[in-house]
């Protein structure tokens, strides 16, 4: 029973390593695309959103 469990664990370790490997393979160029989106949202959207909100407030009577 114990050896069966060990075999199962080893099998899952190999599987998890394969998953990490595939993740690294998929990461290029996806990570770049995702970083671009995060950059675009984080550095462009929120400051300009706040900016546009500040411009709208004086118009509200």
């Amino acid at each position: 029973m114990l050896s069966q469990s060990k075999t199962g664990s080893l099998e899952l370790v190999v599987l998890i390593l394969a998953m990490f490997g595939m993740t690294i393979w998929y990461a290029w160029p996806q990570i770049g695309y995702s970083m671009f989106i995060v950059y675009d949202l984080g550095l462009t959207y929120f400051p300009s959103f706040i900016d546009s909100m500040l411009k709208i407030f004086p118009l509200i009577r």
């Binding site: 099998e11 599987l15 998953m19 595939m22 695309y33 675009d40 462009t44």
Partner: protein, 644 residues
């Protein structure tokens, strides 16, 4: 206000009918029942609107009146009234099931679920509210149908150079429900959301039927629902998410033929048979490629029956389907007959209409098998053959891994399967194929559908959008791995859950926006009031000519237009469908007087053209006319008016 009240009344009526059909065709699997409820609602809403549209009654008040009459009729019949009384029991059972289910989930999964659902709701709501429809095919033909039907209060064909308005259009009829009552396309993108829910519930139902535990089945569901190709397409106003949902639900239902634990399914095998017929026929009226997916569904049903029941019992079960059905009461047989007749109508109407009107059921497409063309057409069409399989498989290999391009809603040069499917799904699928016999059967079915679709898929840059159901098979393999992982030492479960959470988060980051627009483009739309966020005003999608017509043509005027068979027609109706339009055919050899005469004969003074969407020769001709003393003068860019 009348529109909103009519919308609520029609919603109540369609929900009541969907529930009554569910009472008759329910199973003992709660997740599958929930998916079937949403399918019944889509099915009946489409049938109802198609019927009203063909009678020329596609308007809020006639629909409100017939919905009220229908609801009163249902309430006055004692048997249906009795069934309706069980709604509260049904809801209570689901509440209790949910509480138990939620309590059984690991804590990290509960946290991940809350984040996933909150994020998805916020993202879907924002994109639906902020942006107008923008996908190319929607602006050429999908939504052009919807706009013209709403204006005319009738579902019919009309004169336009875009021949693809003849395509099977169940999804467009269903989408009409989201725009008809408010006479505006502000939330029409929400028409894809029921399909998203069905797809998720179907993956869960499949996983549970394969014996995967509740927590692991839910992980498989989240893994699939995070697929970028699916998430981006859901609010894209096209019919591919709908086809995905119908395919996955068909697989879930087909497992019911042989489910040993499912008492009701086990006794009444005709129930999955009838549901499957309804699903297949509805899908046929949505997109013809269900015919290529069907062999995979059949294989799953057949192999699982043999795997679980053996040859002899499988043969006996097939005989039982019809024998047990024939022993049902007259009332049941009548309703079953009605459902099948309705499904046949939804599945065949578009093809019969095209056959009668155009002499080709698949108009405007050709049908080619091998080297012989069975049905001819100018714009090409369905090709079946080994050469096509080879070509599309080569394209698939190029797109495998999403290395060529950013993942976008119509999937140009990409598969859109995302981090979870590639990172965890593929290794899990290989492990599942080695370790799990039930997974081998499921995979065989998905693979057969995949190959059959490659046989006939077009070799266009966007063809992987027809395959966004495939990652569901990889997600279910992830469910199997978690089931195994939870039984082992703690750190294995921890490693798997950390990887899963990270990759799901990366999938979610990938789809924050459509990856098509700059934030400034979205801000530009947000600066407009909700009712003015027309597709024509979305300058990043439509050329300046579309914004020019909004500014210069009065809403009450009839607008003449000339675009090619692949041009944007939909934005010309405006978001509130207030602009009437008429097609003005122009040949480059026409004289200026001929063009003016043609416009006057159609009752319009205005003529719209646009770069890319109108032939340059026609645009040049019109410009010449405006410069050479004819009555046609230019009114801003690419817009012409006949002087009074």
């Amino acid at each position: 206000m009348v529109g909103i009240i009519s919308w609520i009344i029609s919603a109540i009526f369609t929900i009541i009918v969907a529930y009554l059909v569910l009472c008759m065709l329910s199973t003992s699997q709660p997740s599958l029942n929930l998916a079937l409820f949403f399918f019944n609602w889509i099915f009946f809403t489409t049938l109802y609107l198609l019927g009203m549209g063909l009678m020329g009654l596609l308007a809020p008040i006639p629909i409100a009146l017939t919905s009220t009459a229908g609801s009163i009729a249902i309430i006055s019949i004692p048997s249906t009234r009795g069934e309706l009384g069980t709604i509260s029991v049904w809801l209570r059972q689901y509440r209790e099931l949910f509480i138990t289910w939620w309590g059984n989930l690991p804590r990290w999964l509960r946290a991940a679920t809350v984040i996933f659902i909150s994020y998805s709701i916020a993202r879907f709501a924002f994109l639906i509210w902020a942006l107008p429809p923008f996908i190319w095919d929607s602006l050429t033909y999908h939504l052009t149908n919807v706009a013209q039907w709403i204006q005319d209060m009738r579902i019919h064909t009309f004169t336009t150079p875009v021949e693809r308005i003849y395509n099977a259009a169940n999804h467009e009829v269903f989408s009409t429900w989201f725009a008809l009552f408010i006479h505006h396309d502000g939330i029409i993108e929400a028409a894809g959301l029921p399909a998203y829910l069905i797809a998720g519930l179907s993956v869960y139902a499949i996983a549970r039927q394969l014996g995967i535990g509740q927590g692991s089945s839910w992980i498989a569901t989240l893994a699939y629902l995070s697929t970028p190709g699916l998430t981006l397409a859901v609010t894209g106003t096209k019919n591919d998410p709908s086809m995905t949902a119908l395919y996955l639900l068909s697989i879930a239902v087909s497992l019911g033929f042989s489910s040993p634990k499912d008492g009701k399914f086990h006794q009444k095998k005709w129930i999955p048979f009838i549901i499957l017929m309804m699903l297949m026929l509805y899908a046929a009226g949505t997109k013809a490629y269900i015919a290529h997916l069907f062999p995979g569904i059949l294989l799953v049903a057949w192999l699982f029956a043999i795997y679980r029941l053996g040859w002899r019992k499988t043969r006996a079960m097939i005989k039982d389907i019809f024998q047990v059905l024939s022993q049902e009461s007259i009332g049941v047989l009548f309703v079953v007959g009605l459902l099948l007749a309705s499904a046949f109508f939804l599945g065949s109407y578009w093809y019969i209409r095209n056959w009668v009107q155009m002499g080709n059921p698949f108009f405007p497409y050709s049908v080619q098998v091998g080297q012989s063309e069975l049905i001819a057409s100018d714009i090409g069409g369905f090709k079946f053959g080994l050469q096509n399989l080879y070509d599309t498989f080569q394209l698939f290999l190029q797109r495998f891994g999403d290395k060529l391009y950013l993942v976008r809603p119509d999937l140009p040069y990409t598969t859109g399967w995302g981090w979870v499917a590639y990172g965890m799904g593929l290794p899990a699928a290989i492990w599942g194929l080695i370790r799990k016999s039930s997974y081998r059967i499921l995979f065989a079915g998905f693979l057969l559908s995949f190959i059959f679709l490659l046989f006939s898929s077009p070799t266009s840059p966007w063809n992987m959008r027809y395959f966004i159901w495939f990652p569901a098979c990889l997600a279910i393999a992830i469910g199997f791995v978690f089931d195994q992982g939870f039984q082992h030492v703690r750190w294995i479960g921890l490693a798997l859950s950390t990887l899963f959470s990270t990759l799901t988060a990366l999938n979610l980051i990938m789809v924050v926006t459509y990856n098509t627009f700059r934030i400034q483009d979205i801000q530009a739309m947000l600066s407009l009031p909700f009712y003015e966020r027309d597709s024509a005003a979305f300058s990043v999608v439509t050329p300046k000519a579309y914004q020019n017509f909004i500014e210069n043509v009065p809403r009450e005027a009839l607008l003449g237009y000339n675009v090619t068979g692949n041009g944007f027609v939909y934005p010309l109706y405006r978001g509130d469908y207030s602009q009437r339009i008429v097609y003005i055919p122009i040949d480059k050899d026409d004289r200026c007087e001929d063009i003016i005469e043609s416009m006057q004969a159609k009752g319009t003074r205005y003529l719209f053209t646009a770069p890319v969407h109108t032939l340059d020769a026609v645009r040049d001709k019109l410009f010449q006319c405006s410069q050479t003393g004819s009555k046609l003068r230019e009114l801003g860019v690419d817009l012409y008016v006949i002087s009074k």
